[in-house]
């Protein structure tokens, strides 16, 4: 058994036993706290600083040329632990983007159910095209369950364009122009 050391306590003085000096000290502390700066944020006007790698609402991003990055490989749908993502793959419009059509796919529908999402960020981690990102948005609200399902256009609206440096299609074109198709 461990040795215990009993500490001798100093007997309280008379002033200490009346508690009045202690109460006065306490009152001083609270008075000082009263004139200290407030530590709260006034929320809707002031927003907290969100760190860079914050995992907020998942969104889809476009590349700098405004093209969809998602190729609807459905890896995120597969990896999503609460099964919040639903993708229906579709074709790329051959007239709008003749380069990419019949080479890659694009999602016809891309739904993320924010009532199911657990903000784990696995979708962002798994995405081979870096098309899905968890942004700094932390508050979502709606009146119905349907409103809380983010459709494809909403996801692109939230995500916007990411100024990344990959330029996949530009490189391919440049290689083609140089007579070096694969």
């Amino acid at each position: 058994m461990a040795k215990t050391k009993v500490l001798e306590r100093k007997p309280l003085t008379f002033a200490e036993r009346t508690f009045i000096p202690q109460i006065v000290t306490g009152l001083k502390t609270t008075l000082a706290a009263m004139f200290a700066k407030t530590i709260t944020l006034e929320y809707p006007e002031q927003r907290p600083v969100i760190p860079e790698n914050y995992r907020g609402v998942p969104t889809l991003v476009k590349d700098p040329n405004g093209r969809e990055k998602c190729v609807s490989c459905q890896l995120c749908e597969f990896v999503c632990p609460p099964k919040a993502i639903k993708i229906i793959p579709g074709e790329i419009d051959a007239e709008a983007e003749p380069d990419r059509a019949h080479v890659e796919k694009a999602p016809k529908e891309f739904d993320i159910n924010m009532l199911r999402c657990i903000y784990c960020g696995l979708c962002q981690e798994v995405c081979p095209e870096e098309a899905i990102f968890l942004k700094d948005i932390f508050s979502m609200s709606g009146y119905t369950r349907e409103e809380m399902i983010n459709k494809k256009d909403k996801l692109y609206e939230l995500g916007g364009t990411l100024p990344d440096q990959h330029h996949k299609w530009d490189k391919k074109k440049a290689a083609e122009a140089a007579g070096n198709t694969h």
């Binding site: 009045i20 009152l27 609270t30 706290a33 009263m34 530590i39 709260t40």
Partner: protein, 368 residues
């Protein structure tokens, strides 16, 4: 014209009472605001700062300042209580359940009848108190009526017919009964000094204030003041003695089953008691409307002087209300048995000792 002058003796008191009740209720609602604001400042928050009245709140700079200070908040608070859904639980005893909030508020409002809040000089040059009813047993009246307030709490706890309110009510009644003794005994020396036989004013509170024109009784009778202050905290059910509510162990205490305006009445009653307690402490120990200890009152004989005396009295009362809130966030809540031990084993013997000491002192002083 003749009709007016004839009925004046009847109508004037009514007008005065209505005016005083409205001022008092206004003070109650603003002490709720003070509580919220001071609490939030002490806790490093901002407190209510959003409520804005349509016209007044949109005056360019002033409106913003008033809104930031939460000046319009009491309106919103009151309206919230009015418009909430009125729920009466099925298991309560209806009659007493409805009676309890009224019983809690009525004594608190009744005591203000005998509360002097200023002084004026009448045409014959005599200093008179500003008070609704300057009765000779003012302090006894206040002690008697204000302790009726415990019936409201007991009835609320009992008629709610559930455990937490019942426990809260039992605690409240035991606490109030025990602290009443110490409170009564602590102010006896005050009256022994201030209204000795042969003084002009008898037992009136006005007499106590007039006796403090030279030296405040808090300096002369610090022990009485301390015991009285602690007892007032206990009587008004404020922290650190809020056994009746103690939301950490009793949900809401005696008002757990109450909602909307009935809860609002309890709420107002608590603050009415706080204001009454502060006013009493100011009257008995802090010299009422007397300027400062050892200094002659600067208020003259004019009407303006009367207003000044009222304002000075109010300033002291506001400080005491602030002190109540300040202590609330400084001291932790006592355990129930500690409250009882403090009341019966420390404050009551102290008060009795204080009384005997003062009696002996006065006896020796008079024979010399």
């Amino acid at each position: 014209m003749e009709f007016i002058t004839n009925t004046l003796p009847f109508t004037l008191p009514i007008v005065f009472s209505v005016a005083m009740i409205s001022v008092f209720m206004g003070l109650c609602s603003y002490s709720v605001l003070a509580e919220r604001k001071v609490s939030s400042w002490i806790q490093g928050r901002t407190g209510p700062n959003r409520t804005r009245l349509p016209l007044l709140g949109h005056i360019p700079i002033l409106g913003n300042i008033l809104t930031r200070l939460g000046i319009f908040q009491p309106v919103a608070d009151g309206l919230k209580f009015l418009f909430k859904e009125e729920i009466t639980p099925g298991h309560v005893k209806k009659g007493y359940y409805y009676l309890a909030p009224i019983l809690a508020l009525a004594p608190a409002l009744t005591t203000m009848v005998v509360l002097p809040f200023g002084r004026f000089v009448d045409p014959s040059g005599v200093v008179q108190p500003l008070v609704l009813a300057n009765i000779d047993v003012g302090m006894l009246f206040i002690l008697g009526v204000s302790s009726l307030g415990v019936y409201g709490i007991v009835l609320a706890g009992w008629s709610s017919n559930s455990k937490y309110p019942f426990l809260g009510a039992i605690r409240a009644s035991a606490q109030m009964v025990s602290y009443e003794l110490a409170m009564g005994l602590s102010i006896l020396p005050v009256f022994m000094w201030a209204s000795a036989p042969g003084t002009d004013y008898g037992l009136t509170l006005f007499g106590v204030v007039e006796a403090q024109s030279g030296l405040w009784l808090v300096i002369w009778q610090p022990l009485s003041a301390l015991i009285f202050l602690v007892s007032v905290f206990a009587e008004t059910n404020r922290l650190p003695f809020d056994m009746a509510e103690s939301e950490t162990d009793l949900v809401g205490g005696f008002h757990t089953e109450y909602g909307c305006f009935k809860f609002g009445l309890f709420f107002v009653a608590e603050y009415a008691h706080v204001i009454m307690g502060s006013a009493l402490f100011v009257l008995l120990f802090l010299g009422g409307w007397n300027f400062l200890p050892g200094m002659a009152d600067p208020w003259g004989a004019s009407q303006f002087g009367a207003v000044l005396s009222v304002l000075w009295f109010m300033a002291k009362v506001f400080f005491m209300i602030f002190f109540f809130i300040w202590v609330r966030w400084t001291l932790p809540r006592f355990r129930y048995d500690q409250v009882m031990a403090l009341g019966w084993k420390i404050l009551l013997p102290l008060a009795i000792g204080n009384l005997i000491l003062n009696t002996l002192f006065i006896a020796i002083y008079d024979t010399l």
